[in-house]
Chain length 482, copies 2
């Protein structure tokens, strides 16, 4: 039923303009002919595993000394470890919007003065946006979203209305709907010794709430079981699984099997359960004979939430964390895996979650929107041919302002903000700070004075970018009419 | 000739006490019977690759985003990555003395008010100390030291007088013997844009200077060639290769093939050449059919020298660096490799360079001194049987003072010093600072108040340690008689 609804909506809203409408109709005809056709056998499955607030330094293969991630380490050995892979924003909602649309949040309305969507928000991802799920559906993919959505919890914004056949998860962050329990001193205390009843978060299946408060202790386990079930049920047709863990975002929870098992404490338990989960997904792909026809990507939505001390993660040698435009806020530990197709190794070229949209489309033989600016670039050349990546720039937005720009190895900061010191101060830089991220990955040594030419090049990129920028209404700042 | 001399000295000085003398004589008889006997076929070769000032975070497999270390990454995949592996001191001379004797520098005289040995020093490693090389020689091992020694440059202290059949390398650090060239503004400038002629460092073969100034640009390459040659020439008997690179200690140099090849600049070029070197050694072991009978250990003498900015390395998420007793100063990226014998994986148990002595002895069937306190413990159980490690404590000395102690996962700091901020201040802590290194590997959150019991346990360890401590004359502080 949801599938049908998805398709109908798709035809109504996906593209504007008559030419694109014609393409949609043509594609719609293809959908029927493609499903289960010989051609579809060549279409790889796409799995995106997306964490929440995972730091660059939190996996074994990215250097953590006490968090044990054997499954992710092995995934990196067998696949490609990307060490310069970015998200579209350093907090949940805009970052997720960037991945799902292949566009910067500033273009899709999913950023604003409010940093993310809250339970009292009335906005969400607009119909006019095209999602990866919708694009893949045009090529007959089964699609599911398991986990945290956070692109609008009102019915019209839910995954099932954005190209996903089904949905199982929580609609916003796991620290929302604070239940103000009498027996808990304060919020900080609740975060440190969390019980799931302290938050009245809903767990949904498709468009219905099936559990409230969501039993967060078993949530990673249940997301995993749901994902494994989806893979098994869809093994005979191309599928897209978007598994968006709501952890290690605080409050932290693990299932019983992982309690007190990590040297890193509760945070480590949580990551090690996610590592187990990744192992389950990859093992299912292997045992079902799908591994060699499935691209799996593992990454996260933004850097570690440092203000939560040991309950927050670590960005390793990168500077700062979540909520900032320093590297620690927006660079994520990323692994691509596709046995037999992706050459194992380390990729230092730039990539972004926004690139997953065009890359997935090209693999699936799906069209992607041509009537709008897409910020994603195709990663295929690097993934499969070890050729240099197409991405040369990265725009670091915070809320609706451009804070920094990376061009090649250089990054200029126009505005900086740190949450690391709990000192929430903005500093404007004119001339901008300039760092060479290759030689100075920790952004310690400002070299602006020696490189006015580089700054000029970056300013030109900024001008080009801003000249074509059309900023829609912020969905995050929308308020209920009084 | 050197071999003979080594053996003679060995018999004269190795052990005190008549019982041990009897053992030595017995062992001496064994030497002849062992060499090339069927028994020796079971004796594994031992290779220790030791870097200089390499940071915990400077290898791909330990999380560096732009330094490419494919050979070390592969070594870690095939072997064991140790993430809690320590050195005996956070600067060159004492750290090297700890490795070579299996004892803390405070016991072997190789620490003092002068932090290391200098070209005007007259001290060095004493005859009364027993080295790994000497112990292995009692079991018929061929032994060589290639690279930086730094345990005394006067003839009596050189490797050839400490159990090594041969020596090729520089006797102290590569930034010593400053030539004060007229065309260079100052020391800092020389370090940033180094030419090898700025330092009049001698390159030695055995006890002779064969090149001065040492041509440092090709030094890693030549150390590698020397090591490969040694392996090939000794493939029919058990051998011990101690390959102690003098890089990435500043000033930084690379051979032509590695110039400007790394995204991380000159520092990255240097690490990538060392990575190449590791690849050459492992490849030689493979092609000579020795891989399955050789244990290779890769580590470094202390953390990154942070005051040299981009010319210093990174300790990743560990705090601070060289010269301090924070984790960044004394924990090193360490890999054990022995195909078919060492089970691949990550080891989070504690280990130390001092443990290499007893471990090597046990593998070789060699005795190790019983007439003195050894600080090393045997790592075999963890390396080969995946059993918990024997090391429970780590003593962090700086100069001749005990600054910190780790007991299990807890570390207490009695004195701290940072060089990170270039602010060379000592702070005494009473009660000590206390950190849980599992949950808080970056030593951010002092938990002393909540754990008086842990501090009491640590103080008990300190008492036990100090009660049995006999501190000999400092070799570093010895001065020429006036």
């Amino acid at each position: 039923m949801n599938k049908k609804k998805g398709s109908t909506i798709l035809a109504n809203r996906r593209f504007s303009g008559s030419l694109t409408l014609a393409i949609v109709l043509f594609v719609s005809i293809l959908i029927n002919s493609c499903t289960n056709s010989p051609e579809s056998a060549g279409q790889p499955n796409i799995v995106i595993i997306f964490c929440d607030d995972l730091g660059y330094g939190d996996l074994g293969t990215f250097g953590h000394p006490t968090i044990r991630t054997p499954n992710l380490d092995k995934m990196a050995e067998e696949g490609q470890k990307w060490t310069n892979f970015y998200v579209g924003a350093s907090v949940c909602t805009p970052s997720r919007a960037a991945l799902i649309t292949g566009r910067l949040p500033i273009r899709n309305g999913m950023c604003g003065n409010r940093r993310v969507l809250f339970p009292n928000s009335i906005g969400g991802l607009q119909d006019s946006e095209v999602t990866i799920a919708e694009a893949l559906k045009t090529r007959g993919y089964s699609t599911t979203c398991v986990g945290k959505w956070h692109l609008g919890h009102l019915p019209e914004y839910l995954p099932t209305n954005h190209g996903f056949d089904s949905y199982f998860g929580i609609p916003y962050s796991n620290d929302m709907d604070w239940a103000k329990p009498d027996n808990v001193k304060d919020w900080k205390h609740a975060m440190k010794e969390p019980e799931y009843e302290y938050w009245n978060v809903p767990l949904m299946r498709n468009e219905e709430i099936i559990e409230r408060p969501a039993v967060q202790t078993t949530i990673t386990k249940r997301y995993t079981e749901e994902s494994v079930k989806f893979i098994r049920e869809n093994k005979d047709q191309p599928f897209f699984l978007y598994l968006a863990h709501n952890l290690p975002h605080v409050p932290l929870f693990t299932s019983e099997a992982f309690q007190d098992t990590s040297l890193r404490g509760l945070y480590g338990d949580v990551i090690e359960e996610i590592d187990w989960s990744v192992g389950q997904v990859l093992e299912t792909l292997r045992t079902e004979g799908l591994a060699e026809n499935t691209m799996v990507v593992f990454t996260s939505d933004n850097g570690p939430w440092l203000v939560y001390d040991q309950h927050g993660g670590s960005a390793g040698l990168l500077r700062d964390g979540k909520g900032t435009t320093w590297e620690g806020g927006m660079r994520e530990p990323t692994i691509f895996w596709w046995p037999g197709r992706i050459q194992p190794g380390v990729v230092t070229d730039m990539g972004s979650t926004m690139d997953l949209f065009p890359t997935a489309c090209i693999l699936a033989g799906a069209d992607f929107p041509t009537d709008r600016i897409m910020d994603g670039v195709d990663l295929s050349q690097t993934l499969f041919n070890e050729e240099p990546g197409l991405r040369q720039t990265m725009f670091y937005y915070r809320r609706t302002e451009l804070y920094a720009v990376r061009l090649g190895m250089y990054k200029a900061h126009f505005i900086t903000k740190t949450v690391y010191t709990k000192n929430d101060t903005l500093i404007h830089h004119d001339p901008p700070l300039l760092f060479h991220l290759g030689e100075d990955p920790s952004e310690k040594y400002n070299i602006a004075e020696d490189h006015p030419d580089v700054i000029a090049d970056i300013m030109q990129e900024v001008e080009r970018h801003q000249a074509e920028l059309v900023i829609p209404e912020s969905q995050l700042d929308r308020k209920k009419p009084q």
